[in-house]
């Protein structure tokens, strides 16, 4: 497994120099309502409900610094990059996405308990400053970085190559695929509240788990090569996800950005399954074409 699509090692330092001020700035923006004076654009003469007259870019700056910085730390080459460090990196990434959604599951459970029983302690935990969609911007990256460097540096003399475990193909993979495809559109409709139903919007919050069934269970034939396609598809999914996020951060404001933030809950799994299944499809087409040629040659 070769390391691909990575930044040169020096970007790690650049990443640290971006992420730390980003987090500090972000803290002041989120918890102290800080805005850099004058760091704004005059968008329109008067504001509306969902459109401010002035757009201040302090929060955009903080988010760009944090996400960009963490991306550089996460995806720059280590000093001596080889096939094992590349493999550990991708394993750690796959592991981190799962862990991220397990944390989300715990958060969702607390939020639902709060919804049902209105516990004050839970209210604080699930609403103020702990909004998961907000954390979700950098949590997958942060978990990944922690996991990757832990596996590399836990022992001075060797790396920890811990294999990933997948659920069996039947029934999990089949169920995951069917449910994901069947529920994707209804859940998006529900999130946008197009049905005007009371509880339908909740469906969207459970979509990540349906996708997880698909992503964390074996394909019908799962071997070393399929596994490497899987891991690199996850890397691409994470890249595309954050590219979209950074672009949206610059070009979408107000309600538009809130929407991006919501959809962000499922973008990594969604992009992953698209990339992964497309590559499997291309592989099977290539193989059938080649074996067809081979048969012709025998004849």
């Amino acid at each position: 497994m070769k390391a691909r699509y990575l930044f040169p090692p020096v970007f790690r330092i650049l990443g640290i120099l971006m992420a730390i001020p980003g987090f500090i700035l972000g803290y002041f923006v989120v918890f102290r309502d800080y805005a850099i004076p004058g760091f704004e654009l005059h968008l329109r003469t008067r504001g509306y409900l969902d459109r401010a007259a002035f757009e201040n870019f302090t929060n955009e700056l903080a988010l760009t610094l944090v996400v960009g910085g963490l991306l550089f730390i996460a995806f720059s080459k280590v000093k001596r990059e080889d096939e094992l460090t590349a493999r550990i990196r991708l394993n750690a990434l796959y592991w981190a996405i799962l862990t991220n959604y397990l944390l989300y599951a715990a958060w969702l459970l607390l939020a639902l308990l709060n919804e049902a029983f209105k516990v004050e302690f839970l209210e604080v935990l699930t609403n103020k400053g702990f909004q998961f969609s907000l954390d979700n911007f950098f949590l997958p990256l942060a978990i990944f970085i922690a996991r990757f460097y832990y596996l590399l540096y836990k022992s001075k003399n060797e790396y920890q190559d811990i294999p990933l475990h997948f659920l069996p193909n039947k029934p999990y993979n089949v169920a995951g695929k069917l449910l994901s495809i069947a529920l994707l559109l209804p859940s998006l409709y529900g999130m946008l509240d197009l049905f005007r139903g009371d509880y339908f919007e909740y469906l969207f919050y459970f979509m990540p788990f349906v996708f997880l069934l698909w992503i964390y269970s074996k394909e019908r034939v799962e071997d070393e090569y399929i596994n490497s396609i899987r891991l690199s598809a996850m890397q691409i999914a994470v890249y595309v996800n954050y590219a979209i996020l950074l672009l949206a951060n610059i070009f979408c404001y107000g309600i538009e950005f809130l929407l991006v933030q919501e959809i962000n809950l499922i973008t990594i799994p969604l992009i992953f399954v698209i990339v992964f299944q497309y590559r499997l499809y291309r592989l099977s087409k290539e193989t059938s074409r080649k074996s067809g040629q081979l048969n012709m040659n025998i004849l």
Binding site: R80, E83, E158, Y159, Q160
Partner: protein, 66 residues
């Protein structure tokens, strides 16, 4: 799969770092292979065997359970 990297290195009087430099991987990777925790790719196995001047089957040996 087991391997005889340690023995072969001793014969050539080579440290893990020497071998790592010769084939362009990190010292930790050599150590992880030697302690049977990582199965290297075919390319890496061939490179290692070439350093020792032996066929790859003499350096990497399949076991019953593989």
């Amino acid at each position: 799969m087991k391997n005889s990297l340690r023995v072969e290195r001793a014969i050539k009087n080579m440290t893990q770092a020497d071998l790592a430099d010769l084939i362009g991987v990190s010292r930790q990777t050599i150590n992880t292979i030697e302690s049977n925790k990582y199965v290297p790719s075919t390319i890496l196995a061939l490179k290692i065997a070439r350093v020792f001047g032996k066929p790859v089957e003499e350096v990497f040996i399949l076991e019953e359970e593989d």
